[in-house]
């Protein structure tokens, strides 16, 4: 640690060294985009926010740079600054060079020559980034016209068709005349990519391109982005908060924190030997879908620093578990990491592994993140020891249906069809367990929750909450008794709290309603604050004075106020940052164990589901296609849809990501209107596509029932043994239906009868 002593003196030298290492001369040799000391400042109500503080990077042609970090770390601002899209009120300094030409300081008009031509962007929300009143063809052609005014109309149209084909939109010629609303979210994002690559840009900036999409669609879009990069040879800047998404795509990673890069390096360096505690925390905070072993997640306590004040020490110090006095003296620069995987071991052309931490050298790969961040022990519930069948049922659904009539006609409404949002759902939840429903959006998850939360007598199907059936819930007393057993935590912690209520008022509302007196309410609120890990003296604050994670904790406290047996969690962490998410998941886990709660969770993030759930149901078009113990279902998925879902989840492990074979589902969720007669999934099923015609007939005409997996828990490790095991299982199933494993699925031809290789779409087409 000799560096510490002479840190101040070496800082400038170090800085020059860094720049020199990257850049021969001014711009790096061959770098298509080189950013130097980029600074962005905004004004806010509280003062000037220094949102980006000295970002440096070089992007070589054809390479992908992943920028990761929490929200507010300056990722998007960096990209917008490069594009010249920041509002004029922002102050930008530094240098952004595209092929050696300076972009900063150009007028908007001058910038237009580069934007969409040499440098293009894909935005996060595909729903709002296309103009609804023009056809997609028009919008692609517009992008071409702007930069190639001399191109003939035929040429432009031909190019548009070619582009749409390139991003995988079927029958591109006809789709050219379609309007954006005729496309699904994934398709629109493909169109956005088509527009972005229309003029063969040298640099493509993708700002959270898949965050708004479902996992299966995300896999498709990432694939398209990859193809687009290969076709155009563009360098890609991929901005994301999801470490899994970049693991398979990026060559280099830059981790940003508080507007500054805190660790840069090749993807392997960052994932396998992170040297900055923040990076380590981020990696430890992500639940893994491919690991069954249960360990608590690593929460990073606290919130990112306020960028109004220049940090005096390391910006991460207030949240860092390894903080020492030396950390508070001066902000550390990015120093090259020494060690076995240090400089030079990365990919050719990529920058050396650098980290902005004075303890870099003592943080090797052998350090355990869980120890550093004091991750809590895995909580054990008193119910865990009791066999599931002996526990009491807190919720039971029997054959619940929700069909919406689809009407047409302005004066006389004709019924032209039925949307089967929920179609014959049956499951039960026992005390102390977490049951999750997963599936793409539009599969009926939320409708299921609504059916449970808004139970009433005339429902189609039976909902039994805590032993009371909805059929008997005619009087207010029974309804109140049922409501008391059941509370809900919402997806969006901001929207779920009345902005005009203090925390005290928020929490006292259900208690007042339950008829408690004032002192009892006060006492209970203090207990609740303690329970969810908030400071009791914060009760007089308003929700907007809390961070997202804290708000979600308030939401959880409100749900727990009346001591419910079952808490319904509607995507409880999807609106939160990874690091905060870990804290909330740990809290939910702890509460389940301590209070003996049961959860019904709806989530699209399968990694979170795997981490927290005991049982899981996979829904597709209103039906459960596979249900069972979470480890059984995730380790040994039988339904092709489950397999596809699981394979689409990106894993924060670059080597695994590179070698993993994805089952990419073709197309989107079919419209519920023309839902297939037999198996719902037949239209997208890779197994179905590979079946001989005679067997396809069965899928198309008969609806597969939910059947238990009857093999004595054969958990085969590889697909080959899976084939053998299931073949054997089929024989045994005929002999005796002995259900040993807690897993049921609805498919006539589970993976076993086919060579698994046939179903996999390999990377190289």
């Amino acid at each position: 640690m000799s560096r510490e002593t002479t840190a101040g003196a070496e800082m400038t030298a170090e800085r020059l060294h860094v720049a020199g290492l990257h850049a021969a001369g001014d711009g790096a040799a061959g770098a298509v985009l080189s950013v130097r000391d980029l600074n962005v400042r905004f004004n806010s109500e509280n003062g000037v926010v220094h949102a980006v503080r000295g970002v440096d990077f070089d992007l070589l042609p054809g390479k992908t740079l992943g920028i990761v970090g929490e929200s507010g770390s300056g990722k998007s601002v960096t990209s917008l600054a490069i594009m010249g899209l920041l509002p004029t009120t922002a102050e930008i300094s530094g240098s952004v060079k595209l092929n050696g030409k300076e972009l900063l300081g150009l007028s908007d008009k001058a910038m237009c020559r580069y934007r969409g031509n040499d440098i293009a962007m894909v935005f996060q929300d595909p729903l709002s980034s296309l103009t609804p009143v023009y056809t997609v063809g028009h919008q692609i052609i517009e992008a071409l016209t702007v930069h190639h005014p001399k191109m003939s109309n035929q040429a432009k149209e031909a190019r548009a068709v070619e582009l749409l084909g390139m991003v995988g939109i079927p029958s591109p010629k006809d789709r050219l005349k379609a309007f954006p609303h005729e496309f699904s979210g994934g398709m629109r994002q493909r169109v956005m990519i088509a527009i972005a690559i229309a003029n063969n840009p040298r640099v493509l900036i993708a700002d959270e391109p898949t965050t708004a999409l479902d996992v299966t669609i995300q896999a498709q879009v990432l694939e398209v982005l990859h193809t687009a990069q290969e076709e155009t040879g563009a360098a890609v800047v991929m901005i994301t908060h999801d470490l899994g998404v970049v693991a398979g795509m990026a060559d280099d990673i830059m981790v940003m924190y508080a507007g500054k890069p805190v660790e840069t390096g090749s993807v392997d360096d960052i994932y396998y030997s992170p040297r900055m505690p923040y990076t380590m925390g981020l990696l430890g905070a992500v639940p893994r879908v491919d690991i069954a072993e249960k360990a608590s997640l690593v929460p990073i306590e606290g919130i990112p620093p306020n960028l109004i004040h220049e940090p005096t020490g390391c910006s991460f110090a207030p949240r860092c578990p390894l903080v020492s006095d030396a950390c508070l003296k001066g902000e550390p620069e990015l120093w090259p990491v020494s060690g076995p995987r240090g400089a030079g071991s990365g990919m050719a052309g990529s920058g050396a592994h650098k980290a902005a931490c004075i303890k870099t050298d003592s943080l090797g790969a052998e350090v355990d993140v869980h120890e550093i961040f004091h991750a809590p022990a895995v909580p054990v519930s008193r119910f865990d020891a009791v066999p599931r069948l002996e526990r009491r049922k807190v919720l039971e659904l029997r054959d619940v249906r929700k069909h919406f009539p689809l009407l047409k006609g302005s004066l006389i409404k004709r019924r032209i069809g039925t949307v089967k949002a929920v179609d014959g759902l049956s499951f039960d939840i026992r005390e102390g367990e977490c049951f999750s429903i997963v599936g793409e959006s539009g599969c009926g998850k939320t409708t299921t929750l609504l059916e449970i939360m808004e139970f009433h007598k005339d429902q189609d199907g039976e909902v039994t909450i805590g032993g009371l059936s909805n059929k008997a819930a005619s009087d207010a007393r029974t309804k109140t008794a049922m409501r008391k057993e059941l509370q809900m935590v919402f997806q969006d912690p901001t929207g779920a709290l009345d902005p005009r209520f203090t925390v005290f008022e928020v929490l006292s509302e259900p208690l007042e309603n339950a008829g408690l007196d004032k002192p009892a309410i006060r006492k209970r609120i203090m207990e609740l604050m303690e329970l969810v890990g908030l400071q009791p003296d914060h009760v007089n604050r308003f929700p907007n004075q809390f961070s997202g994670g804290q708000r979600q904790r308030i939401g959880i406290a409100r749900a727990l106020a009346v001591n419910p047996k079952l808490v319904v969690l509607d995507e409880p962490v999807s609106a939160l940052d990874v690091s905060v998410q870990a804290g909330v998941i740990n809290l939910l886990d702890k509460l389940r164990a301590e209070l003996g709660l049961s959860y019904l969770m709806v989530a699209h993030d399968l990694s979170v589901v795997r981490h927290i759930s005991n049982r899981v149901a996979v829904m597709y078009l209103g039906k459960i296609v596979e249900i069972g113990d979470v480890d059984n279902v995730f380790d040994n998925p039988r339904h092709p849809y489950t397999r596809a879902l699981l394979s689409a989840i990106p894993v924060p492990d670059p080597q695994l990501e590179r070698t993993r074979e994805r089952i990419i589902l073709q197309g989107d969720l079919p419209s519920p209107l023309d839902a297939p007669k037999g198996c719902n999934f037949a239209t997208r099923c890779p197994v179905f596509a590979a079946l001989p015609a005679a067997k396809q007939e069965k899928c198309l005409t008969l609806e597969p029932p939910l059947e238990p997996v009857s093999s004595p828990q054969a958990a085969p490790a590889t697909a080959a043994t899976a084939a053998a095991a299931t073949a054997a299982a089929a024989v045994r199933a005929a002999r005796a239906a002995v259900q040993t494993a807690d897993q049921q699925f609805a498919c006539f031809f589970p993976d076993g009868e086919l060579d698994a290789d046939m179903l996999v779409v390999h990377d190289s087409p």
Partner: protein, 323 residues
Amino acid sequence: MTNLNAIDPAAVAEEARIENDDVVIAKSAIILRRFLRNKTAVAGLVIFLALTVFSFVGGILSPWDKETIDPFNIGMPPSGEHLLGTSQAGIDLYALMVEGTRISILIGLVVGLVSVLIAAVYGCTMAYFGGKVDKVMLFILEALIMMPALLVVAVATSGGGNGLRENLPSWLLLIIVLLVFSWMGTARLIRSLSMSLMQRDFVKAAQYMGIPARRIVWRHLVPNIGSLLVLDVTRGVTGAILAEVAFSFIGIGIKVPDVSLGVLINQATSQVQTFPWMFWVPLVVMFLLTGSLAMMNDGLRDAFDPSSSSVGSAKKTAGKRNK
């Protein structure tokens, strides 16, 4: 059980940090600050307040009142004795202006406030009950929008409303008629706004906790449309003042002997050439009144709109710092 009185040093430090850092700013402070940042709006507010004060206490500054005729000064231009001159009948214009401004502001404020109140109650009720009630109430609302307000005002204040006119001063009658025709647009806006609020998660959360619907409306809906109501009040006030002026101008609004800005302008139009001060003074005051409200409105929108971009520029501040 936790000891509630125990002082956690970490919490205290945190608290101090929050206080000093200005991290948590009360919403009212932000609204005020945003409003003050809009210089036009502040100017508007100052003008409006000045006019209001003038209309209430302006009378003391002049020995004349609107009834007294000065037989020696009939139709005289502004002079030392009569600051703004006198009318054709020899009445001090300054006294008339004080009276007229007061009536106009009164009409504006009452109509603006009460119509928004009616709109809030009506709109919330529609959204809260929904279904059939909503349909019927919406029909009434639409019917009122279709009705030609001008005709009704004309009938009520002249021919048909004789009985009414005997009992009520004409300005009160005008207020009532204006009220009937001014709340529909706002009501429809509030209806749609509360309907979307009903869909918000915090309202759902309250429903799932079993809170009665009436309490949800009162505790969650009404406070949350408050900022919109403030905006609508200023708009309503402007609208009412303009309507009063217009109606009085064509002779169906305020009737003499009551005075308002509209009446004054109306009286002077025929003799702009001979008594220009009689025309221009009330016109300028009316313009100041409506103009100041319009200027304020923009600032209020900036202040209340949560998505407002009114945060000032980083460049400016950075520049100041460099100086």
